[in-house]
Assembly symmetry: C2
Homo-oligomer: 380 residues x 2
């Protein structure tokens, strides 16, 4: 008998009662009953996004919501800034290539966060830059960008700020309206603790006004249709009903815990994971690490992918490996959403087993001791 | 205590054991375990599509797969024929408008099927027509188009035939390769008996060759990325893993029953539903009805929407109403996928209760008697 456990930065674990809730017999989506649930869920999402604007629920993965931000806000030949600090930052530039936008890409060394002054300088020198595209938490490196500061630059200008909060929403505070973010995108399989299949997106008033002048061809990801239908408490196309039923339940769970407590829990388990890795001689890869994913360098002489595969195959603990990170050999431990103290203990214990198998020298328990100290502080 | 029951043409009922299978703890999609399941599921889909070509699984509703067919096969200013025989036929023309294709729309009176000779004539008169877009089963009217005959016209020409088989795949025989269909699209929440959230699409060799010359901007629905990743047994973006686990299970169920038996079951319960409606004086709306959905005219003096709402609210049986059908007042009973004899008896019984409430004159049981005769024949 094996106990399997998923500690990746998405998909993440789903609360068992939510899984069972989604296993109930289906009911039709064109009914008052579903309309009401859909509308309530959208209203609850506003509280999570910290916005007064609509939040649209798309049947797609997070990338679909990224595409929606692009095709609704950007015209061909529009000048944009893309922040490439990892695999997901690269994607913004890919969108620009596909849709004929002119991307001025800020290449950030992977593991680092963007230097705000570079954005500031570029925006000062070119008033035609329509938008800045950035991740909040870059999942591939575990680095966090300082969105509040970036937003303070774009806030009172015509430039739009589009933030991929796929692995940060529900992990780190994010104040869409107060900070002045123009578009936030997210997905279901991260801090929303659901299976993959839902993309989420919200536009500020400034972004909505800008979208009216965008002629990029679109149909499935047309947010104007989504807007009109949400006003009627419904969706343009058949929604992923079971996931929305799950989302409604998860949002209740988040608000019952209290968003501040949710953020604090993530911070505590992230700190504990980092302490544990450090005790094993595994340096943090991200300079300004996200509380959703801990990326750590493999110890000298040991391959990261062997740590991952040993943990997965022998100890049934599924972490994530490097996502094409150049010049560094990292592993990534996800702790987004349905994770608590015990999960970190389990994960670090399996990490120790795997490292012992692979010949790393350390005393059993070193990472657990350090992690426990941090976790215990979190209970006070 | 109420027993609720869903008999709509999608979402449809999901087998309870499949719902529970999808409620298992999640595992990561970038693992050999998921790769293998994903690949096996794609292989099984080929048997359902009756094709040797790849079948791509998209995280989207069926409309997403329709969009994928459009953006991968059609350029701006391409001439196409769209068959508009209902709500979903209209959608092809909407795509053309959005993406700047020149649509020659064949307007078919709703409830009727397209007259093949009109397509033949148009294709004879204009050799530049790149593609014909049509539904197999038009869900909004319950009408079936004769795809085999349409394919016989396009088969040995340069014109592509794109078929929306969302409510027909797994209900009616559909031979993609043998008939010469160039693109088949479908979705999860119909005969595949799953919650909504997956779009399916396959391209013939002819369509794949044509796609190489298509420059329409796309990213999320780019089938060339899907093709390259499927060859590596994976997906471009995070897939809706739980739905794919369900899909794999459902495909086993379909093949265990045997596709011919699946088609025969649908035919039998469709015939029974039609007989029952006829016995109640409710005329069939579709001239050439689909075996997936029975659309019937409300009896004189009784509103269709009242039949629907009475069945739904008082008897907890959820059928579908009219989907903007002009000049006719219809109800639609769905029997796609996980439906059998007893379900038709239950539905017709509730239909009788509702009609009695609404003042229609008939003897209790008349529809059940006729339906039973047909259903019993189906057991021989």
């Amino acid at each position: 008998m094996y106990k399997e456990f998923l500690v990746s930065p998405g998909p993440t674990c789903v609360p068992p009662d939510t899984l069972l809730l989604m296993a109930n017999p289906l009911y039709h989506h064109r009914t008052e009953r579903f309309d009401e649930l859909f509308y309530q869920t959208s209203e609850k999402l506003k509280k999570l996004f910290k916005t007064k604007e609509d939040v649209y629920i798309l049947t797609s993965s997070g990338t679909g919501a990224m595409e929606a931000s692009f095709v609704n806000l950007i015209n061909k030949n529009d000048k944009i800034i893309t922040i490439n600090a990892g695999k997901f930052g690269e994607r913004w530039t890919d969108f620009a290539k596909r849709y004929g936008a002119i991307a001025d890409e800020i290449e950030v060394e992977w593991g680092k966060s963007v230097d705000i002054s570079i954005i500031q300088e570029k925006l000062k020198n070119d008033k035609d830059i329509k938008a800045v595209f950035v991740q909040h938490s870059e999942t591939s490196t575990g680095a966090l960008h300082d969105i509040k500061s970036i937003a303070s630059i774009t806030k009172n200008t015509d430039t739009l700020l589009i933030v991929d909060a796929i692995t940060s929403l529900g992990v780190h505070p994010l104040e869409m309206d107060e900070w002045g973010i123009d578009c936030v995108v997210s997905g279901s399989q991260k801090a929303l603790m659901l299976p993959p299949g839902l993309g989420l997106i919200s536009l500020s008033k400034k972004a909505y006004e800008a979208s009216k002048n965008v002629t990029t061809a679109k149909f499935y990801f047309d947010l104007e249709s989504a807007r009109k239908n949400l006003a009627k408490k419904t969706t343009t196309f058949t929604p992923a009903t079971t996931l929305i039923i799950g989302l409604n339940d998860i949002l209740d769970k988040l608000f019952n815990e209290g968003l501040e407590n949710v953020y604090a829990r993530h911070e505590n388990i992230a700190l504990a994971t980092r302490s544990g890795c450090d005790a094993l001689g595994m340096k943090l890869f991200a300079e300004n690490p996200s509380n959703g994913v801990t990326s750590a360098l493999a110890p000298k002489g040991i391959e990261g992918k062997k740590i991952k595969s040993t943990m997965e195959k022998k100890y049934k603990i599924s972490i994530a490996g490097s996502q094409d990170v150049p010049k560094a050999d990292i592993i990534r431990i996800g702790h987004i959403g349905y994770y608590d103290k015990s999960d970190i203990v389990v994960t670090l214990s399996a990490l120790e087993f795997a490292l012992k198998d692979l010949g790393h020298e350390f005393e059993f328990g070193v990472s657990l001791i350090e992690a426990q100290k941090v976790l215990y502080k979190g209970t006070k």
